[in-house]
Subunit: 262 residues, 3 copies
């Protein structure tokens, strides 16, 4: 029997997984703080001279192309390869893929040169990568047909666990698909909530191993924290602050009572 | 008759303009979040390979030299030229111009190679660019003589809309000048409130077209949100959080009741 | 007689020291805002073309290797040398030293090429630099033997003021050591509280001169603000927000009443 979501949450907090991020400079601080509040230890470094050593000692590596450039993309590949050699799972967040040719080419390059364990994107991004014609405007999903089908197709094509996030989240591996219905509307009004999810996924696959269940647990825990924060929020500003508190203070009982996963 | 400020606010929220930023890594997260709360869709990207495509598809491009370097300055010029070709308005925030020779030379280069639609700076920065001997210390205004006169002179010289911000804000085009008296003292105690204003200006010129009126509307809406946040703030930390809430929750009635523009 | 901590706090606020940071993109916004709330004027710039001019006009320069790369490390050396020529004190925060060879080599290079006035790190980092076998995992201390002894040894070896932070903080010069017992547990749950301390140290050495007393005053004021924020916090998110408020609103009476320095 799989461990429950609350059991995985306890394991993350006990393990304190080191999560090496190469990520964008827009939302990086929120990624670091949500990682701490989830029970992980974040480290951000992107120099070619530094990333192979850091990735090899990490519990998970998160690659996020939000503010990519030639230097950091090369470092993502270097870090990903070092992680692969050391059997450290790699989470790819293909931010804005489909919005521009460079973003699409970069995501494809990383997937070609690195064995990603998890791909997490918004519905549009996952549909683009699945070849199902999703639309992305800037870094936002702008249409995705059937995101669950896209997640399944991309999982089948790549052999990874794929998460397509949105009002409803889908997590697929080559055999199963999980449908997650936690969360709240204010998540759409804060920059980087998708990036934060990827950081939490890094914590969970780092501490609990790679599976659709551990990825779904990470997303659900984050979304349940968001529901609790939502109650105390007057808008996007207070919501973001309360999200960190809620993630840190979340109990297994709260998770068990609120979980909506099928 | 020009649309009212509250009518422009409604249009921004309805249009959801995509605002492409090449900006500094200090305040970029606040720029993204204020842009969302103003009704826009922020995207930050600065790679030479990416910016021409992103800028061409944006509603506005914001160039901010706060943490400039040779690579990103080249990208600002590339993005600005692509925006010019696609008739996308460019907003320049010449952060710290006058504080060092490199900043001054860079702002002048951008203005030479790119047709900016709007220049928004603090009073010292605008006075420096206008050749009226303003003083800038670090990234803060340190003296500006008559900021309204500086805005007018720079607008006349460049043909752009020019905003000089401070305790009182001035917005000039080649023919008019508007004087804005909203805001509160705590705006001076948070890093990046000037950068945030430029992001909001990007939203308004992207959705409502370039004019002294749309630039003044953006600044006024931001400053009115600041007044509302000020009431709920215990200091700079809570003020910043409440500013996002207030910007998101602002009503046309609040704007109409509080607007102090002449 | 040395000025009291509260007298130094007053002097910082009156002087408004310009603190030039070359720092990481994870916690840079918090550094800017805590610097303002402490009474300083932050500026962040890392281009080779810009840093000699900015450093020479600053009251202090803070070098933080949290997200180092070849370009910015070269700029740190350039800025540090310009600061040395202009008699501007340099504060080094050797983030993650000991976690990877590149970080260790970079900290050693900076210390070789620049005369640092202050080295501030967590206990593990200071123990690594002191050659006393500390352990660093990612950017977190993972064991340090006796941090006070490490601070003393590194101060003796380098002739700088050395601060080793943690649940108890130690500040050593070549002759004395101070033990600081303010602070709260939530400081460990927010990314970048160590970086923020370095920014506040920059303010204090910039305004009050370099001494173990001014460094200890900076750390103590920050930690006392943290104690006051802790009372109003529900978790790491609200704590961080309240920390800025508390730093801004702190009174000399609060400092005098709470100071635990020996």
């Amino acid at each position: 029997m799989e461990p429950t979501v609350s059991a995985m949450m306890a394991k993350v907090r006990q393990t304190n997984p080191l999560v090496h991020h190469i990520t964008n400079y827009v939302t990086v601080n929120d990624c670091a703080n949500i990682c701490i509040c989830a029970g992980g230890a974040p480290v951000m470094t992107d120099a070619a001279e530094d990333v192979p050593d850091m990735a090899a000692h990490a519990s998970a590596v998160v690659l996020n192309i939000g503010t990519l450039n030639a230097r950091t993309v090369d470092s993502m590949v270097l870090a990903g390869k070092a992680a692969n050699r050391a059997h450290v799972p790699v989470v790819l967040d293909p931010v804005g893929v489909g919005a521009t040719p460079y973003r699409t080419a970069t995501a494809e390059r990383i997937l070609r040169e690195v064995n990603a364990a998890v791909i997490k994107g918004n519905a549009g991004e996952i549909s683009v990568l699945a070849g199902l014609g999703g639309a992305v405007r800037g870094v936002d999903s702008a249409g995705a047909g059937d995101p669950g089908a896209a997640a399944r197709k991309l999982a089948a094509r790549t052999g990874t666990v794929v998460a397509a996030t949105g009002p409803v989240d889908y997590v697929a591996d080559t055999q199963h698909i999980l449908t997650l219905r936690n969360g709240c509307n204010l998540l759409e009004k804060v920059s980087g909530t998708g990036c934060m999810v990827a950081s939490v996924v890094g914590c969970y696959v780092g501490a609990c191993g790679v599976s659709a269940d551990s990825v779904a647990a990470a997303i659900s825990v984050f979304n349940i924290a968001a529901e609790l924060a939502n109650v105390k929020a007057d808008g996007p500003g207070t919501f973001r602050v309360r999200l960190l508190d809620a993630m840190n203070n979340l109990t297994g009982e709260q998770v068990d009572a609120r979980l909506r996963m099928a």
